[in-house]
């Protein structure tokens, strides 16, 4: 008799929890981390279909999980963000979707731009909500452009004297903008209902979910979605005080966002993909001034609230390891990409559980022998005395399913702690 879903769920949950708490689990857990489009590729659908057909997407993930049996998983609702149809309904300019300027089997890609101008910091800091509605949304979503002319919301503070403002919302362009947002919302709502059902079904089948929330490092919020890389890096020289004030302003917003989502999903894992603070992007001095304090504050707040921050240290963070060593022990699951595995184990091995490090090049173009040899090294080095979850360096869109199978089987066999 095989184990029941509940038994499997409890067994895997304990394995993962032990690893995160830096205790030695029964074996090294393994997962896809951000499986991204791998299930689509594995089940033979295009990346475009994965973004446009939620039913097919969730079915692909289910089949992939049943076939590979990961110890933990990332909700594809997160991995693939928002259904393509919803992004189309508001004509999102911030992302290129498969089949729209790039081939149907290519991953979506982010388009950075200066969605906030350098001279708009004060406006943003004084009223982030107003800025979001009247400036940000009109610039990112084409159909929401008319919102730049929305009536001043604070006029409604006049009480019923403010009611005449409602006429402004009935102007055809604004009504149609709000209508497109409503349409997108309905699509997302349907997708989310399916995601909730999926999480429930996967739980029943024995698969625990890693993260119920997503947020950004405060510096990255400014850099990724508002100012763009070029903008935010120039601001470090041209208007450092304003940049720091904006970072201060959004720090509680970023933790609040995570808390609200965690409450709604009932899952304590908070995914924090880090983008612009890694080695090579800025100096340690700049990291210390602009990037780290607010990220540290965010992480500590989440831990205080009983959540498990899961920062994705994309790129190389080897020079930043000493900072990470400062964080509370056994409370964080860090995803790692190209950071040096020996230094990582040595410097933060007793601080946080690490996941990742498996080269996507090997999983895509390697041989079974090479895959096993590197997985062995990871288990021996990073997995020594616990604190490691086997995972890929980054989103494994194009991995070869046969090599992934070899990788999973080997880890489950060799990764047993004796």
């Amino acid at each position: 008799m095989g184990k029941t879903g509940e038994e499997l769920y409890n067994e895997r949950t304990k394995r993962v929890r032990d690893a995160i708490a830096l205790k030695v689990p029964d074996r090294v857990p393994i997962w896809f981390q951000d499986a991204s489009f791998f299930p689509a590729k594995y089940t033979g659908m295009t990346f475009r279909e994965a973004m446009y057909d939620s039913d097919k997407l969730f079915a692909a993930y289910k089949k992939t999980f049943l076939d590979f049996e990961p110890d933990l998983y990332f909700n594809p609702g997160h991995a693939l963000h928002t259904p393509g149809e919803a992004l189309d309904a508001v004509r999102c300019k911030q992302v290129i979707l498969p089949g729209q300027g790039i081939p149907v089997n290519h991953s979506f890609q982010f388009v950075e731009a200066e969605y906030m101008k350098a001279d708009e910091y004060d406006e943003f800091i004084n009223d982030p909500t107003g800025f979001t509605i009247c400036k940000y949304l009109p610039r990112v979503y084409e159909t929401l452009k008319p919102l730049q002319n929305i009536p001043p919301i604070t006029g409604l503070l006049l009480g019923y004297f403010g009611m005449p403002l409602s006429a402004g919302f009935a102007i055809p362009e604004i009504a149609s903008a709000l209508g497109s947002f409503y349409k997108a919302g309905l699509i997302v709502q349907k997708h989310q209902a399916k995601a909730v059902a999926f999480v429930k079904e996967m739980g029943d089948l024995g698969f625990p979910l890693a993260c119920g929330a997503i947020t950004l490092a405060p510096f990255d919020l400014i850099g990724d979605t508002l100012r763009g890389l070029r903008g935010v890096l120039l601001d470090m020289y041209r208007c450092p005080d304003k940049l720091l004030a904006a970072i201060d302003k959004v720090t509680p917003l970023m933790s609040g966002l995570a808390l609200a989502q965690a409450k709604a999903t009932g899952n304590p894992g908070v995914f924090i993909p880090l983008h612009k603070g890694s080695d090579g992007f800025m100096s340690l001095e700049q990291f210390e001034k602009f990037y780290w304090p607010s990220l540290k504050k965010l992480i500590l707040t989440l831990i205080d609230e009983g959540l498990t921050p899961c920062p994705f240290f994309e790129g190389d963070h080897t020079q930043r390891l000493e900072y990470l060593a400062d964080l509370p022990k056994g409370k964080i699951l860090g995803f790692f990409d190209s950071t040096d595995i020996y230094k990582a184990k040595k410097i933060i091995g007793k601080t946080m559980c690490m996941s990742g490090f498996m080269p996507l090049s090997l999983l895509q173009t390697g041989t079974p022998e090479k895959v096993k040899a590197y997985a062995k090294e990871l288990i021996d080095v990073v997995g020594k005395d616990g604190g490691y979850i086997m995972g890929p360096k980054s989103a494994m869109d194009e991995a070869n399913p046969e090599l992934v199978k070899v990788w999973f089987n080997f880890t489950k066999e060799y990764g047993v702690y004796r």
């Binding site: 290129i96 790039i102 120039l234 470090m236 020289y237 700049q286 996507l360 090049s361 173009t365 980054s394």
Partner: protein, 210 residues
Amino acid sequence: MSKELIDAIVNMKEKEAVDLVKKMMDKGEDPMTILGACKDAMDSVGKRFEKGEFFLPELILAGEMVRQISEILKPKLTGELKTKRLGKVIIGTVKGDIHDIGKDVVVFMLDVNGFEVLDLGIDVPPQKFVEAVKDFQPAVVGLSGFLTLAFDAMKETVEAIAKAGLRDRIKIMIGGGQIDDEVRKYAGADAYGSDAMEAVSLTKRWIGGK
């Protein structure tokens, strides 16, 4: 005043640098001298980047300062700054990938190290690389890619160059997010580099340099 201008640029004093140039122009300084100072400053910025003292903010700001200065000089410029170029390199982000940060840093570093660089931009189809190799006649081609889809796009690009009979004339280097020696073998490139400095040293080794 050239020395002051170089210092202002290298010390990231944007306003000071631009004001100095305006002052120099008012005094009737030869725009070519100012351009030469800019070039020296950029070389120095590149060296500091190589040493790990400068990072992306400094590269971007230095580029921005020189852009502004060039705008000021433009109406008075009579010729181009003649610099000795060590050899030609083509750089581009491969088909399907629209990432440009890494590529731009490589272009910058090759340029300040004295190479003539043709930047083909992002999402460059194999055929465009082939045409550019024919027309521009580089000694080195650099393929950049951030996403894993770049592995196949790099392989296709190398194959297209080979099919056009141009493979033996050039060295091909690759780099970006998940690129390593496994991908180099898979794509059939000559080398991979993990950062812009490696792109420079590979190019120097192949073309010969200072």
